[in-house]
């Protein structure tokens, strides 16, 4: 008991109990600067249901997460496969792909702001290829995907390392045996490698989903939720509601919904594990 007590208690005190408070706030109208707090029952939730910004915000969050999840896992696995070999200078490449993980998210976002500007570095490069690039962050059709890209390149290095680790534990003999049997690399990837790294896919998938649903800084620094509400993801909407509109109760209701979404998506991924993950994680 003494072994788990500090950690479990810590999580209860710093996670569970504060969350119970947030649930309580969500039944109140609370103006923080004047200190007024009034119990209003479920009014905040019925207001959410009717708020078009909120539904736009849910759409933005789900699209963003789906984009990040798919792109991140595909890139992370591909990079891991590419890098999982003895080759001169491979360490340097691993470090390069990992490097954004250690850059502060603020510096990373600011830099991408310069690169994605209408006359910025990316469009400059496209111009050399004869392509007239869009205004990435202000065009409703490209703003969200731009944020996805910024987020993916920032975090994919960590997942790449996790997959690299998983690949290194795939016994060499099995792959060689498959090769001798005439299996194409593509085929052996799907029938041997993927099942072997399935637990890692599940774990990184869950962690990446949670992380992407909590995204804040890149939105704040790059799009401010726009254009329109296309990038107004839930944590950003929550932040603006609490601190710009000064409505803590309403913002807490958004927080409760955000938690419910994260919980639901995690359970969904977790519940699929028996179908495709051999090892019980």
């Amino acid at each position: 008991m003494a072994f788990v007590a500090p950690q479990v208690l810590g999580v209860i005190v710093l996670g569970v109990i504060p969350f119970i408070f947030v649930v309580w706030y969500s039944f109140n109208e609370w103006r923080p600067l004047t200190g007024q707090m009034e119990f209003i029952g479920l009014d905040n939730y019925s207001r959410l249901a009717a708020d078009p910004t909120f539904s736009a915000s849910i759409v933005a969050s789900l699209l963003f997460s789906a984009g990040v999840l798919i792109l991140n896992l595909v890139i992370a696995i591909s990079l891991a496969v590419l890098l999982n070999r003895r080759l001169k200078g491979i360490t340097a490449f691993r470090t390069i792909f990992f490097s954004p993980v250690v850059v502060s998210v603020v510096a990373w976002s600011v830099t991408w702001g310069f690169l994605l500007a209408p006359d910025g570095g990316l469009n400059g490069a496209l111009e050399l290829l004869g392509i007239d690039g869009p205004n990435w962050l202000a065009d409703p059709s490209t703003a969200l995907i731009s944020l996805v890209v910024v987020q993916v390149f920032k975090g994919v290095g960590m997942n790449m390392v996790l997959f690299l680790a998983a690949l290194q534990s795939v016994p060499e003999e099995i792959r060689e045996a498959a090769q001798l049997d005439g299996a194409s690399p593509w085929r052996s990837f799907w029938s041997i490698t993927v099942p072997m790294i399935a637990p890692t896919i599940l774990l990184t998938g869950i962690l990446t989903t949670i992380g992407s649903l909590e995204v804040f800084a890149p939105v704040q620094l790059l799009t401010g939720g726009g254009p329109g509400n296309t990038t107004n993801v839930l944590p950003f909407f929550l932040y603006r509601t609490a601190f710009i509109s000064q409505q803590f109760g309403y913002a807490s209701a958004i927080g409760v919904v955000l938690f419910a979404i994260i919980l639901a998506l995690t359970m969904l991924q977790w519940s699929t594990r028996r179908k495709w993950v051999h090892d019980e994680v």
Binding site: F3, V16, V102, S104, V110, L115, D119, G120, E214
Partner: protein, 287 residues
């Protein structure tokens, strides 16, 4: 015949190797360019950063940005703050989450499964959601503008659950034989953990350690909420606080400070990446 086939294969493999390098270099670009731009821009005069389209190398090299990094704020002290906090967080995280992970994997105790599910659920509560009640409590304890919340939150808070999870997976996949033998010899549970299980858990320790260090070192939101005195700032916060007389951001200085925070960690990763990858490979995160 055979040697022909072999040389063809070698040739083919040389071709694939070259293709591979070309591919890797191409893919490196979006990872490397922003960091390089950040690094080189810190050598630009402030005005040049805004030139459209942006250039990678400065037209005019200057160290002004870097000088201001140290003169405009107590940057070395802030560096020290971040380092000591990260070290405490890393060491405590390793110890406490190893204990909890061990207990969840090995020891039967009442409500074990419920406690574990509770932990996993708490992991999904974003800190932005719960910051007000946490701030209230921190303030009531008089710990505002101290480093305590920045130490306590990452060690015990919801983000620590990942570490517990990694250790749990590690101990689950680890053979029980040694520990059982020791138990039969009359060694206590704590003795088994500290003398046998923990020393054999180096890979998980490496993984959790690096993740905890990075989490603490990159912490921004919590620092923003709790710290007010520049002498107490941590790096993530300090970087954004380079402003001139008029409240305008000093971009070259900010980027210079950001570069200075990245380089040491990158060097450590370059040296330790093999252990890091192997560490993860031998934990429950393996395939």
């Amino acid at each position: 015949m055979r040697s022909d086939a072999a040389s063809a294969a070698r040739k083919r493999s040389r071709v694939t190797t070259v293709t591979l390098y070309v591919l890797l270099v191409a893919v490196s670009f979006p990872f490397l360019y922003p960091t390089l731009w950040m690094f080189f821009s810190s050598f630009k005069p402030a005005n040049e950063i805004f030139l459209q389209p942006p250039t990678l190398l400065p037209r005019e090299w200057t160290l002004d940005g870097f000088v201001q990094v140290f003169t405009a704020q107590p940057f070395l002290q802030q560096y020290g703050n971040s380092m000591y906090i990260a070290v405490i967080v890393t060491v405590s995280s390793i110890l406490l989450s190893a204990m909890a992970g061990y207990a969840f994997a090995r020891i039967r105790f009442p409500l074990r499964n419920s406690a574990f599910v509770l932990m996993l659920a708490a992991m999904m509560v974003p800190v932005e959601v719960t910051i007000i009640p946490i701030f209230t409590a921190v303030n009531a304890m008089g710990l505002n503008d101290t480093h305590w919340p920045l130490i306590i939150l990452p060690i015990f808070g919801p983000t620590s659950v990942v570490s517990v999870f990694i250790f749990r997976q590690h101990f689950l996949s680890f053979p029980r034989d040694y520990e059982e033998a020791a138990r039969l010899d009359g060694v206590s549970r704590a003795g088994v953990f500290f003398r046998i299980a923990l020393p054999l858990a180096t890979p998980a320790i490496a993984a959790v350690g690096i993740m905890a260090f990075l989490r603490s070192f990159n912490m921004y939101f919590e620092a923003l909420i709790f710290l007010r005195t520049p002498e107490k700032f941590t790096l993530g916060l300090a970087i954004t606080r380079y402003q001139d007389f008029y409240g305008e951001q000093m971009w070259n200085t900010q980027l210079g400070a950001a570069s200075l925070t990245v380089i040491p960690i990158l060097v450590v990763f370059l040296i330790a990446q093999k252990q890091f990858v192997q560490g993860l490979a031998q934990t429950g995160l393996k395939g």
